[in-house]
Amino acid sequence: MSGLAVRGLRVQVGSGRNAHVAVDGVDLDVPAGTVVGLVGESGSGKSTLARATVGLVAPVAGRIEYDGEDFAGARGRRLRRLRRRVQLVFQDPRASLDPRMTVGETLAEAATAHRRLGRAARAAEVRRLLEQVQLDPAHAASRPASLSGGQRQRVSLARALAVRPDLIVADEPTAALDVSVQGAVLNLLRDLREQSGLSLLVISHDMAIVRYVSDRVAVMRGGRIVEEGEAAALMASPRNDYTRLLLDAAAGG
């Protein structure tokens, strides 16, 4: 199967007495070209799952297959090969951008991590990336501190795009943003998918956001996927009580 296929994934976080199983036997598919929404509350293990898909945490069991190749526990060269295909956008762009580097440096670093680019090509690539996320190319010289939250999140999206991945995992991409600017980031995610055929795994605690961007939805609770299905169908007739609770909360809000 092309795309991401997670099978029986088990991830433990912490060590010794504080260890606990954050992801407990998860099966999840993100077929090529689709947008899958993963919804759940804080502590449900969805961020840990996101980190596992790019090899930031190693699973204790299970498989993380990409285009049929298993990358669970990959290191070194194999891990780099995975990360050429799967990129992660972190929740808080303020924390995930190096405060000392300009936007251009951050993007150039990502663009050259897997490819050699001359000076001119690098500048052109930075420009292209900024335009792709609808930022003024002049921002290449800015530092993250001088950008707004929404702009910063677009920069971190551009950084993920710089690697030219097939799949982007976006972990709560709007949770750290002001309400009035999060819409622009959601629109951008939709546009990217339409323009470049990118697959997306969008993680959020907010059912309305997941509903808005996703083709398929998976609901996670206590480290497990409790329900998964085509977005409209799942919203219309949820089978799991917890899904229903989330839907009620979203509708009431």
């Binding site: 060590s15 990360r83 190096d98 929404g150 750290a176 009035s180 819409g183 989330l246 509708a251 809000g253």
Partner: protein, 689 residues
């Protein structure tokens, strides 16, 4: 720049000294080595004179010249020592950041082991191996320095190495040399430089001591320590012979430290610390704990403001704020409509007229809350909704009299339960606040003392303010917890806060506030840190307090959905002002302020059309320092005219709509003409109808 680097006159003087010392390192020996080495048998052991201000040594050599010449050797040896120590230490200290978990702990343990060995012992050990002399001293002291440097580096690198941006770079595929060079080292450079400067001055002292004892620099070479030992036996005859080199050592040590401070500050100011520094420079004391979340919000933090910290005191025992009316600049002459008068009957739980909050900043005072008038009626549920930086939290804190300097709060009237707050002072005010008001913050842990069992925390306010005895207060607390649907309330009282889940804690805080049966609970983002299911429990608890005790609730949230479903009346804040006030039932369909409408449209809900892009609001919310004298939303508003950009619209009653106020020159006609900024959203609503 000067302010950024903390350049006080004293520090500038020390920097001048440092520059002079560096000049001496370069120019001292060529200029004065002749005089320093010139043997004058006619003036052996001479006292201080015009020709020899510091006197001469046993061979008649001029001691002043020798002190000047010795600058080079003294400082270079000290630098070499610190450099050796830090080169070793930083290299070893960075290892754990690169290694896997098992090797990491081996290295960390080794570092710890070496830190535990006294530096002097280590130095003596190394000196025995390398031998006495300048080289031996430098190597010995350098090696002795290394464990400390390694430990510091390890700690710093661990914190930066755990940062999201390092993880992000790893995911992108950045290799470790670059990770170290571009991301980790630059971000730990400032404290390392500071520590390096301190190590250099310590090394100077230690090397001088060794030379003084004859274990360091050996004749015919000489450093300040060696000169000191020459001069000391004539201390009483020619004081300058000993004081000269001594003074040089002290002065150099202090100057090097000052240089380190400035260099570290220059490095640090490149990064986000800049904002923090500025704030500190502006006197926004980070120690004012309540100020912390607010200052965060002011600094244009997109993230929901961090929770108020521990000073957020047991909710019921609201600390008396000394928020004396400060020198708030008079706001532009607009005459806001007063808050609607409270209906006859019990006095309003809260009434604030023309509340402004300002605080000093580098560019003059900023006023993040401006002319806010609001009333919370007896038993009413009122919500304030706004984005970060809108001033909503500051408004709530000021209303609860919880703001302390440097915040200056100014009100035309401030009544709690019908009683003017500022007519009372000290104890009287504290009792009024304690009995009539409870505050619930975002983070319940900040309001609970982790060391005390709940029993103590849930009863002390009732004992203090309601004159109950311990038994009655316990009964009341159990009753409260039961009402809030906490399971096994008797047992909960015996537990510590950490034994409860987040939702239970927040309900315990609400119970704590309710034990005094206050007329008003101010809840600032009480559910932001909580999950959906728990959020419901907490809101239900607040609702129960409202239903059963008639406690009025002032709920502050960025979540327009929470506000709309919980409150009866909604105040929308933007740029420090109330821009619209309306019944919650009217919020979704009948809001008239362009901001309110755009905000509602920008948030996807379960009805949003998935095939259309979300309507967005261009730009971003202004920070407190950016607030214009005109409409703060004008820059992002599709309706803005010249007037909007020139004049602040007053908050006035909306014609023919009781209980509604709006501050806009061009309010959208009620439930008609869709706002262009929110066009898609409104069409969507049309479709739904």
């Amino acid at each position: 720049m000067r302010e950024r680097l903390d350049l006080t006159p004293g520090r500038i003087a020390l920097l001048a000294v440092l520059a002079a010392l560096l000049a001496l390192v370069v120019a001292g020996p060529p200029l004065w080595s002749g005089a320093a080495d010139e043997i004058d048998t006619a003036a052996m052991r001479a006292g201080a004179s015009a020709a020899h201000p510091f006197g001469t040594d046993q061979l008649g050599r001029d001691l002043l010249a020798r002190v000047l010449v010795a600058t080079r050797l003294s400082l270079l040896l000290a630098l070499a020592t610190a450099a050796l120590g830090f080169a070793l230490g930083v290299a070893v200290g960075l290892l754990p950041a690169l290694l896997g978990p098992r090797l990491r702990s081996v290295v960390a343990t080794t570092i710890n082991l070496f830190v535990a060995i006294p530096g002097l012992l280590l130095a003596l050990l190394v000196a025995t191996i390398v031998g006495i002399g300048a080289k031996g001293a430098v190597i010995a002291l350098g090696v002795a320095l290394a464990p400390q440097a390694a430990r510091l580096t390890q700690t710093l690198a661990a914190s930066v190495g755990g940062a999201e941006y390092v993880a992000a770079s790893r995911v992108v595929g950045v290799r470790w040399p670059r990770l170290l060079g571009r991301h980790i080292l630059p971000n730990i450079a400032a404290p390392l430089v500071l520590q390096f400067a301190m190590a250099t001055s310590q090394a100077l002292l230690a090397l001088s001591a060794l030379s003084f004892l004859g274990l360091g620099v050996q004749s015919p070479d000489y450093d300040w320590g060696a000169l000191l030992s020459v001069g000391l036996d004539r201390m009483y005859v020619t004081p300058m012979a000993a004081l000269g080199p001594g003074l040089a050592i002290v002065l150099a040590g202090v100057a090097i430290n000052a240089g380190g401070d400035v260099l570290a500050a220059a490095i640090a100011t490149d990064a986000p610390q800049r904002a923090r520094r500025r704030r500190r420079a502006a006197g926004l004391a980070p120690s004012a704990t309540l100020a912390a979340p607010v200052a965060e919000a002011l600094a244009d933090e997109a993230a929901p403001a961090a929770a108020a910290s521990a000073a957020a005191a047991p909710a019921a025992a609201a600390p008396a704020a000394d928020a004396a009316p400060g020198d708030v600049p008079a706001a532009p002459a607009v005459d806001p409509a007063p808050a609607p008068p409270a209906p006859a009957g019990p006095p309003a739980a809260l009434r604030v007229e023309r509340l402004s909050v300002s605080l000093p900043a580098a560019e003059g005072a900023v006023t993040p809350v401006r002319e806010v008038s609001l009333t919370v009626g007896h038993g009413e549920r009122v919500g304030i909704v706004g984005e970060s930086g809108s001033g909503k939290s500051l408004t709530a804190l000021a209303a609860a009299a919880l703001l302390e300097p440097p915040f200056a709060v100014e009100t035309a009237a401030h009544e709690i339960a019908g009683e003017p707050l500022f007519a009372r002072a000290g104890t009287g005010r504290r009792r009024l606040l304690g009995r009539s008001l409870a505050v619930v913050f975002q983070d319940p842990l900040s309001a609970l003392n982790p060391a005390l069992r709940l029993r103590r925390q849930l009863t002390e306010a009732a004992i203090e303010h309601r004159d109950l005895d311990a038994g009655e207060a316990t009964e009341a607390a159990i009753e409260r917890l039961r009402e809030l649907r906490l399971t096994r309330p008797e047992q909960r009282l015996g537990q510590h806060p950490h034994e409860l889940s987040g939702g239970m804690r927040q309900r315990a805080v609400i119970a704590m506030g309710m034990t005094v049966r206050p007329g008003l609970i101010v809840a600032d983002e009480p559910t932001t840190a909580l999950d959906v299911a728990v959020e419901r429990e907490v809101l239900a608890a607040l609702r129960r307090a409202n239903d059963e005790d008639g406690t009025a609730i002032l709920l502050i949230s960025h979540d327009i959905g929470v506000i709309a479903s919980f409150c009866e009346r909604v105040l929308v804040m933007y740029g420090g002002r109330i821009v619209e006030e309306l019944p919650a039932a009217d919020l979704r369909e009948r809001a008239v302020h362009p901001y309110t409408r755009a905000l509602l449209a920008a948030v996807p809900d379960m009805e949003t059309d998935r095939d259309r892009p979300l309507p967005t609001i261009p730009g971003r919310p202004p920070t407190a320092a950016e607030l214009p004298a005109s409409c703060a939303f004008a820059a992002r508003c599709a309706f803005a005219s010249e007037r909007c950009r020139a004049q602040q619209p007053p908050l006035v009653a909306l014609d023919g709509a009781p209980g509604r106020r709006v501050a806009c020159w061009h309010p959208a006609p009620d439930a008609a003409a869709p706002a262009p900024a929110a066009a898609a959203g409104d069409e969507r609503e049309e479709e739904r109808r």
